[in-house]
Amino acid sequence: MAEPILRVEHLSIALPAGGDRAHAVEDVSLTVHRGEIVCVVGESGSGKSMLAGAVMGAIPGDLARTAGRIRLGEIDLTALSEPELRQIRGNRVAMIPQEPMAALNPVVRVGRQIEEVFALHTKLSAQERSIRALGLLADMHLSDPERIARSYPSQLSGGQCQRVVIAMALAMEPDLLIADEPTTALDVTTQAQILKLIRDLRETHGHGILFITHDVGVVAEIADRVLVMRRGQLVEAGEARQVLTAPTHPYTRELMAAAPSMTPPPHRPVVGEHALVARGLTKIYGARQALGGVDLEIRRGETLAVVGESGSGKSTLARILVRVIAASAGEARVAGVDMLALKGDALREARCAVQMVFQDPFGSLNPRRRVGDMIVRAGVLAGAKPAEARARAEELLELVGLSKAAFHRRPAAFSGGQRQRIGIARALAANPDLLIADESVSALDVSVQAQILDLLRDLQDRLGLAILFITHDLRVAAQMGHRIAVMQHGVVVETGPAAEVLTRPAHPYTQALLAAAPGRELGTATVVG
């Protein structure tokens, strides 16, 4: 076996008193060898990012290590002072952060930000620093490195920023790379490229890589070994194949089962009347066409999953259908009425027919209002009498699986998944014909995500809802959509029954998306097992 680069021994980090548990990280031991990718998997709050911070000698907040040792090669990081740690950080251990664009200083050209690493850790001259930075950018397969180096982060795409940040991490040829959810903010095709880049680095440079992720698909794609974390503790560790295909700990099994499969479940054909018929939806911003003539129809009781990468126009589509922005051309008939032609009172009345569940469970609920009041208000706006709306709100809370006590509480008292349930109840209070879910489960952990998807399916069966389900995640689309529409550059390039689109994609872009989806083998394995 190759030499161990990182050895963490019985590491514990205490949380302040009064939290939901005593330790952010509790008695964790792990080893990373040269040329090895070790994945740490866990849901939010599992302590995986805290572990990464600790290995960099930079535990966030006011928390502190209470026990254990961290050895980097022969150096005991836990024995070093802050100035000594500064010489290690960015030099022998480097971090590839979660949100590449946010991790770059918006007012400094990215070339300068890479050069800063050399300024901090070497005695190179300004000219040598600049040459080295350009070299790193070229190594990242970025075309026109000079232009990239001169750019500010806001002038680059997410994928370009991620390559810049990786270049920065590699500047000093560190022994250990820590990648903290490095692809979570990226599109699936970009993600596939970045994962390939990281794998190549391991082969060519032999870094040890500690890769932190919540995505089981990514794990299947990249890991040599897997560690599963839950509530600050390591619950399972082993070779990737073994953990993914034959997990021993119940939590790991739960996590694997919750990851949506790429194979759609069998559907009965939906034969109801059309809830939405949209023709030629177009949106033009100046010289840019955000939406170029989209045709859609959704039947009652049917889910149309719209998939596409950022900038494909899928959110523009949703905003046009709820009349938040005006279409440049086209019509959208909901229950026979063209929503886009309405004005004034007629629009206000008709608006209830299309309701939306938003992406961000924290930003989409007013923190000052009580949950019950929000749902009652949605009902009253849709024309119900206050007493009826109130009775209906209580019913809806039960329908989405929340207790009656929720009625009088404020959003702060609820978790992300519970808030999404509240958002769904609020949308349903208006008795919509069409429910639009715009990335509604993207911000949730897989186990919670699975519950919300179940809830939406269940509600659809009971209420005969038509659902327009917008997502960037093919797996979620596979599980939710009776039909799938694939969007690229503002146009629907392919649409058809889910099983058809996923198994026999006709359009090259759909094929590319499917090829880029991480951990495809895993999907089939889950179905078989």
Partner: protein
């Protein structure tokens, strides 16, 4: 470069348009009622015949639009008329007063900008620390005390009690630094705390950004993190506030100028209003608005220097 020039032209156009709208409102408010103008110019004991004769002689019987355009043209050419109270050419009256106020304002800014930025950055760099709490407390106290109270208090201590400084700042014997100290201190005390708190909030927000943590993970020292990464981002908000303070200092601190009998722009506006000096009020109003729009335009140009995302070509390339 071309984008920058186009941007500058756009800003100057906006500036001119704002001035035009304000000039119309000023003229409408003060000169729509011609009788009122005649009373103010000739005094309330003038006879109706005298007023009528004066009105026709000075073109006041022409339609409103014509009078406005004539006034505007005169204004642009620097013919601002004669003060009815001081009996002097208004332009000649205003310029030295503006100069005096600029000295006072400049002195105030010279003290308040470095002090407030240093205090704000020091407080915001480590939110919740003892230093942060003490700076915030002092800031709140100084901000909450109105200028006239500070002026009285400082005079009581340094003029009456210790006798170190003069109580009036008439500058009778030319520019005197000793006479400037008190009014400048009052101005600085009123604004420093406010700007410091703005800077602190901005700094604290920046220090919580992912790129600050990234700088730390690159191995940067705390001093380098603050100077190379946080400062420029944190300065954007205070720049707005500081530029908003400039017109306030120039025309709004009548209290300070009157208290210390400082012969600046503020006292001039105060006298003009007290004496219903129509033309002087008009001129002072236009000058005040000019300082507001010019300082805000400068503030906009500074933002663009500080934050490349705001520059005309600085957005996404797509």
């Amino acid at each position: 470069m071309r984008e920058t020039l186009a941007d500058l032209a756009r800003r100057l156009g906006g500036l001119a348009l704002t001035m035009l709208v304000v000039s119309f409102l000023v003229f409408l408010t003060l000169e729509f009622n011609v009788e009122g103008v005649a009373v103010k110019v000739l005094g309330q004991f003038s006879t109706p015949d005298q007023r009528q004769a004066w009105l026709s002689e000075n073109g006041y019987l022409d339609p409103f639009a014509i009078r406005y355009l004539r006034w505007l043209l005169d204004f642009v050419r620097g013919h601002w008329g004669t003060s009815t109270y001081y009996h002097e050419d208004i332009l000649k009256l205003i310029l030295p007063r503006l100069g005096a106020s600029a000295i006072l304002a400049g002195g105030g800014l010279l003290v308040m900008i470095p002090m407030s930025l240093i205090l704000g950055v020091a407080a915001g760099a480590k939110e919740g620390s003892a230093l942060d709490r003490s700076i915030s407390l002092v800031s709140i106290i100084t901000t909450s005390i109105p200028e006239f109270a500070t002026a009285v208090f400082l005079s009581a201590v340094f003029v009456i009690g210790l006798g170190w400084l003069p109580g009036v700042s008439t500058m009778a014997a030319g520019l005197s630094l000793r006479e400037l100290i008190l009014p400048v201190s009052v101005l600085a005390l009123a604004s420093t705390g406010y700007i410091a708190r703005m800077t602190r909030a901005s700094m604290a927000e920046v220090m919580a950004q992912p790129y600050i943590r990234m700088a730390r993970l690159k191995g940067a020292s705390p001093a380098r993190i603050i100077l190379a990464h946080a400062l420029r981002n944190a300065l954007i908000t205070p720049v707005t506030v500081i530029m908003l303070q400039i017109p306030w200092i120039l025309s709004g601190v009548i209290v300070v100028e009157v208290f210390f009998a400082y012969r600046g722009f503020g006292t001039l506006l105060y006298q003009a209003s007290l004496n219903a000096d129509v033309y002087l009020v008009e001129a002072c109003a236009m000058v005040s608005v000019l300082t507001v729009v010019v300082s805000q335009t400068i503030a906009d140009l500074i933002y663009v220097r500080l934050d490349p995302r705001l520059s005309p070509g600085g957005g996404r390339h797509s």
